[in-house]
Symmetry: C2
């Protein structure tokens, strides 16, 4: 076995690991970052093990930084995947083949296919700032549109579904958009972000009224120009109020 | 070592376990179920290990059933506690003494104090229906008022705090109260439940308006009688609409 792999397995927890669902927003589409395993056509979410002296949250921050170059960004747990069998998307034979192609034939007996629980973390990142970087067991790291994600290794399709559900719930108690939109944006752009995450159309007037009621937006004197239609107002987040709303929530304010 | 304990340790996961924050509501107070460890004055949340062939969720359901006699009730993950040191509330000496009192002196070398990650589950239960039952390593299982919870073993005070925070956020996207209130209740009783969880006073009119906007309450023809004041209307949850609101959320409905 590759001595690097051997050392990694010995210095990390065995029964619990981490997977990261990293969302970006670009050209009106929600995207997710995936890795292609070495020598295969099999894709998975970015993830990794937790070093013995490292907290789960520290491991997630490290993995996010290693795959995207980003740090100090919005990253949170959303669910821990603890099914007794998390390898359901591929048959055992297919999965063994993938693992042998990536890790070599002597890997398989050692560790994998044992019971493993994964802590799911979710990040919302600025698409343009990400330097997508494969790790040592993958050949390729790139963005996929949510609607085009292929069948992934392990239970990673479930993970993306569950992360999306958590993100939708979060829209009800926290503002969103700071990492996903450019600094200045129009109300229709903000609405498009919400509609993409919620996967449904929202009423324009109700949406605007709701957003303004959160008291986190600053209306700018300038307008977006250059379009064929009436130039829309530009907004930016009032970062202080935005951060307070993240802490205190946007419902039950009184 | 007790052969029962030995068998339990061998047939369960070693690096990851479960703890349950079980909330009940009684006499206008939010309460939490705690266990006192055998031969000690040390308290903890109910919890346990995950059997090798059991999912994390199944383990949580089992633990809840064993401690309360209840099943098929609202139980959910809220956070996974993965700090590198989760034993901070007591000094190592105090903790070792507690564990030796409970498990005997030969236990300590074997297993505990190793790195362990805990998946936190939260349940909301009908106070009156719970039959609080200690497990084989505890002498006592009983309700504590949230405000009177003592210093607990491990990081269990943090767990209760985090569960409360998750519960508060949940009020923004899901209805609450079905398992916590009697079948028929008044609007002030529902408001008292929300105020207890949120730990703040809410405006009576705004609260009533918000609750009615969720369209999950059925106003009953009868009124609560017997008090010194004007008899308040009684409500009950429309269970079908309530369950739909749990699924679909109560914000962004249009």
């Amino acid at each position: 076995m590759d001595p690097r792999l051997k050392k990694y397995l010995e210095s990390t927890l065995k029964e619990v690991s981490i997977d990261c669902t990293i969302f970006g927003f670009h050209a009106g589409e929600l995207k997710v970052l995936l890795l292609r395993w070495k020598g295969t056509d099999s894709w998975s979410l970015p993830g990794g093990r937790i070093f013995l002296e490292e907290s789960a949250n520290e491991a997630a921050v490290r993995i996010l930084r290693e795959r995207t170059g980003l740090q100090e960004i919005f990253l949170q747990q959303f669910y821990t995947f603890g099914a007794a069998n998390r390898y359901k998307n591929f048959s055992p034979d297919e999965l063994i083949k993938t693992l042998e192609l990536t890790f070599g034939e002597d890997f398989f007996d050692e560790k994998l296919m044992k019971r493993n629980i994964s802590i799911g973390y979710m990040a919302l990142v600025e698409f343009e700032q990400v330097v997508a970087t494969p790790d040592w067991y993958t050949d390729e790291c790139r963005w996929w549109e949510i609607s085009a994600v292929p069948t992934l290794l392990f239970d990673h399709n479930d993970m993306i579904e569950t992360a999306l559900k958590a993100l939708r719930q979060q829209l009800s108690y926290q503002p969103i958009g700071y990492n996903l939109l450019p600094e200045k944006f129009t109300m229709p752009e903000l609405q498009r972000l919400y509609e993409t995450i919620l996967d449904k159309q929202l009423d324009r007037r109700n949406f605007q009224k709701l957003m303004l009621s959160y008291d986190i937006l600053e209306k700018l004197p300038e307008k977006r120009t250059g379009g064929a239609f009436k130039a829309p107002f530009l907004y930016k987040f009032d970062k202080e109020k935005y951060d307070r709303a993240i802490q205190e929530g946007i419902t039950f304010k009184v």
